[in-house]
Subunit: 308 residues, 3 copies
C-alpha cells in the first residue's frame, strides 16, 4: 500500500488506511533506534530540504535526524521574511528550491496554505511541518503513534485537547486524526480561544476543562504562545493557569492511567504542573522519540517507496 | 584536461578552453539529476566549507546540494561581521578554516578581492561565490551552460545585459564569459548605473534598453538591489521600471526565440514583467537547475581531479 | 583502555592515563588528515548534535569536521536564549534533544555547569565545548597535544598562561591539564583578572608577565574579550597591551624555542604582537589543526569504543 498523494499537507486529506500505514511504518522503523548503527540506506541519494520560514529548531532537528537515519542528504534553508514583498519572495524561493530538484521539501510557514501552494509549484514531495493555524500533520501522527503504543487502540478512546484551540494547528490536526481513527475528541479552552464552528470538525467543545477531562483516556495540553497574544485573549497568565493548567486535582477526573501529552516546549505550571509533566502518566518525551520515527515513516513513504 | 589554477576566483582568469571544460563536465554530471539515486561517490572523504560573510541561502544551498551529490562532506560557516576589526577577523577566520584542512572553501564576501586574498593564505581550493561588485563566476558559468543548451553555440550570439551594471558582479563575470566564448555583449542601464570604462571589457554600453535589445539572442535582466541604493541612483522604482523593465513590447525588438535570463530572486514587474518571467522564453528556473550541475563540475574539477 | 565516564565534562575529572589515551588516540587519527580520502567509517550511523547556546562557529566547525571525518551524522542546534524563562527552556530543550536519541551532544553554554546538568538528564554522551568560565576541555587537550608534538614530554616543562585568567575556561582547563601531566604552570595577568584562590589549582600566580615568562617552555596568551568587560577590569586596551602583550622583548626572557600558543581568535598587538603570532615559534595554526584530531579522538572514545 502507498500514500495516494505525492505530498503530506494535512491529516484532513488522509484516509484512515493511510494513517494506519504511516503508523505501522513508523513502528517498523522505530526498531532502528535501538540498533547500535541507527541508520538504513533506504533514502541514499535522496535530498530533503528543510525550508523553514518560521523558527523551530526542534521540529527541524527531528526531521533532519529522521532523514539522516534513512541516509538522505539534508539541506537546511531558513528563509527570513525581511524583504519587501513577502509573497513574491515565497513563490520565487519555492520555485528556485524546486528547480534544484530535491526529492522532499519540508516546509514551515506562518501562513496557512503555504505548503499546498508550494506543492502545486514543484515536483518534489512537500511535507507540511506546520502552516499558520491550519495543520501540523507530523505532530498529530506522532501523537497518534504514542497513543497507539500506550493504549493499543483508538476506537472509543476519549481524548481531551486543552488550550488555545483556535490558534493551534496541533489541535486541528489531532482533531482530524483522532476522530478519523474512531476516538471521541473534546476540546476545551477559554471562550476567546475556541473557534466558532469547531464542533463541525467532529469534536465537542467545552469552556470548562473539568467537563472535558471527565473519564478521558488521553489529555493533550497545548502550548500557550505567551509572547504572541496571551494578553489579548485572557486577562493574565495567572488567570489562564488558574483555570486551565492541568493539576493533579483536574487529572483525578480523568480515567486512571490517562495518558498526558504536550507538543512542547512546555510552559511549566502554566499549561501543566511540573509534577504532572514529570510524572508517571506523562508521555511527553516519548512523543519526541516517536516524532523521529513518524518522520522517518513519512519520508520513507513519500520518497522511498513512490520512486520504486 | 584540467583547470590550471587550484582556485576558481573569476571568469577573467579562465581560458576559453577551461570554460569549455567546465561546461562539458557540467553536462556530463547533469545526467545524475535524472537518476533515482542522485549521487556519485566522486568526492567521498572530501570536505567543502561554505564560508559566507554575506547572506545568500540560494547560492549556498546550490553549492551544498552540488557537494552532497558528489558525496563530499559540507560545513556551513556563516561569519558575522560584528567584531571590532573586520579585516583581522577575516584573516584570522580564513587561516583557522584553512588549518582545519578542508579541500574546498566556497567564499562569499561583500568586499572585492576577498577570495583571492584567501586563496593565497590556504592550501584548499577557493571558489568565489561572489565578492562585492567584482565577480560571481559560478553564476556566469551556469548562465553560459543555459545558453549553450538553448542555442547550441556562443559564436556570434548577441547578448544584452540590462540593469545595475556597475554594482553587478553577475554582469562582470558574464561580460568576461560571453566575450571569451565569442558572443557580442551589450550592456544597458541608467547612466548612473553604467561604470565609466565598462566598454574596455569588450562590450558595448547603452542607456536605452531598446537599442541594446535589438536582434538580441539572449536577454539577461539583473536584479535591482532595491533595499540598498535604488534611491541614490534613480528617482524611483516606478521610474526605473518604466524605462528598464523587460516588457512584451521591448521583447519584440529582440530575435524570435530570444532566451530570457535572470539570476534571481526576481523583483516582478520591476526588472521583468511577470508575463515574461513565467512565459515560454524564460529560462530562469533552468538556470537554477543548471547551477547545481555547474557547481558539481567546479567542485569535481578542483577537488576530484586535481588530487589524482 | 577506555574513558571511565560516558561524558567529557572537564579536565579536572580526567586521570593522567585518560589524558594520555586521548592524546595517543588523536595522534593515530591525525594520520587520516594526510590521506586523500580524509574519512573513516568508525562512527557510521552515530548522531552527534552540536547544541550551542553561545555563538562559536570555529569550535562548532571543528567538532563538525571531526564528526564527519569519522562518518557520524551531525546536527547543528543553535538555541537562542530569547524565551521568557531561560532555565526552563534549557531543561526542556536538553530533554527533547536527548529524547531524539543522539549518541553525543556537544554543548556550549555561557553558564558554568550546564554540560554536567545535561549529562544527568540524557543517556547520550555529553561533551563540554565550553561552559561559562568553568572548563573547555577539548581546547586544553588540543593544547596538550600541540605541546606534546613540539616538546615530546610534559614533565618539568614551564608553562606560562597570560591574560584574563579569572574569566578564562581555557586557562582553567589548561591549568588542570598541564599540572596533571607534570608541567609547572604559572599564570599572569592584571590583579583584577587573577581569581583570589587560583594557586590552589596547583599553579603559581604573577601580576608581572615578565616573571611568569622567565625560562618558560610554553607561553599561552589568552584572548581578551574586548567587547565584554575590558573597560571594567583595566583602564584601556592600550594600557593592557602595554603591560601584557607578548612582544619580542618579553619573549626573550623565555627559553629558546619556547612554543607560543593562543586559542584564537587573536586580537593582534593586544595580546600578542603580529610579529610573534606569525613568527617561527607560533603554533597557533597547528593548534587549530590538532583541534580536529583531538575532537575526533574524543568522539571516537565516547561513541565508537564504548558501544562495543
Amino acid at each position: 500500500m502507498r500514500l495516494v498523494s505525492k505530498d503530506l499537507l494535512g491529516i484532513e486529506k488522509l484516509t484512515r488506511e493511510e494513517i494506519e500505514l504511516i503508523l505501522e511504518t513508523a513502528q517498523k522503523l522505530h526498531e532502528i533506534h535501538s540498533r547500535d548503527i541507527k541508520k538504513v540506506p533506504t533514502l541514499r541519494g535522496k535530498t530533503v530540504v528543510n525550508l523553514f520560514f518560521e523558527g523551530s529548531t526542534r521540529t527541524r532537528t527531528s526531521f533532519e535526524i529522521a532523514a539522516k537515519r534513512l541516509s538522505a542528504d539534508t539541506i537546511n534553508f531558513s528563509a527570513s521574511s525581511s524583504s519587501l514583498s513577502k509573497s513574491e519572495t515565497l513563490i520565487d524561493t519555492a520555485r528556485s528550491i524546486g528547480a534544484m530538484l530535491p526529492d522532499v521539501i519540508v516546509v514551515r510557514h506562518n501562513q496557512a496554505g503555504t505548503p499546498e501552494m508550494l506543492s502545486r509549484m514543484v515536483k518534489s514531495s512537500v511535507v507540511n511541518a506546520g502552516d499558520g493555524a491550519h495543520e501540523h500533520p507530523s505532530q498529530a501522527l506522532l501523537d497518534l503513534l504514542t497513543v497507539k503504543e500506550k493504549k493499543g487502540r483508538f476506537e472509543g478512546l476519549k481524548v481531551a485537547i486543552v488550550g488555545d484551540i483556535a490558534a493551534s494547528r496541533v489541535a486541528r490536526s489531532n482533531i482530524y486524526g483522532f476522530t478519523k481513527m474512531g476516538a471521541e475528541v473534546r476540546v476545551a479552552g477559554p471562550p476567546t480561544m475556541l473557534p466558532p464552528h469547531i464542533e463541525q470538525l467532529g469534536c465537542k467543545a467545552y469552556t470548562n476543562v473539568r467537563e472535558a477531562v471527565v473519564d478521558a483516556d488521553v489529555i493533550m495540553m497545548l502550548r500557550i504562545q505567551m509572547e504572541r497574544h496571551s494578553k489579548l485573549l485572557f486577562p493574565s497568565i495567572r488567570e489562564y493557569s488558574r483555570l486551565y493548567c492541568l493539576t493533579p486535582e483536574i487529572l483525578d477526573l480523568a480515567k486512571e492511567n490517562a495518558v498526558i501529552m504536550h507538543p512542547g516546549p512546555i510552559n511549566r505550571d502554566v499549561e501543566i504542573s511540573s509534577e504532572i509533566a514529570d510524572g508517571p502518566y506523562s508521555v511527553i518525551l516519548e512523543q519526541v522519540t516517536n516524532g523521529v520515527a513518524v518522520r522517518m515513516a513519512i519520508l520513507y513513504l513519500l520518497a522511498g517507496q513512490r520512486s520504486n
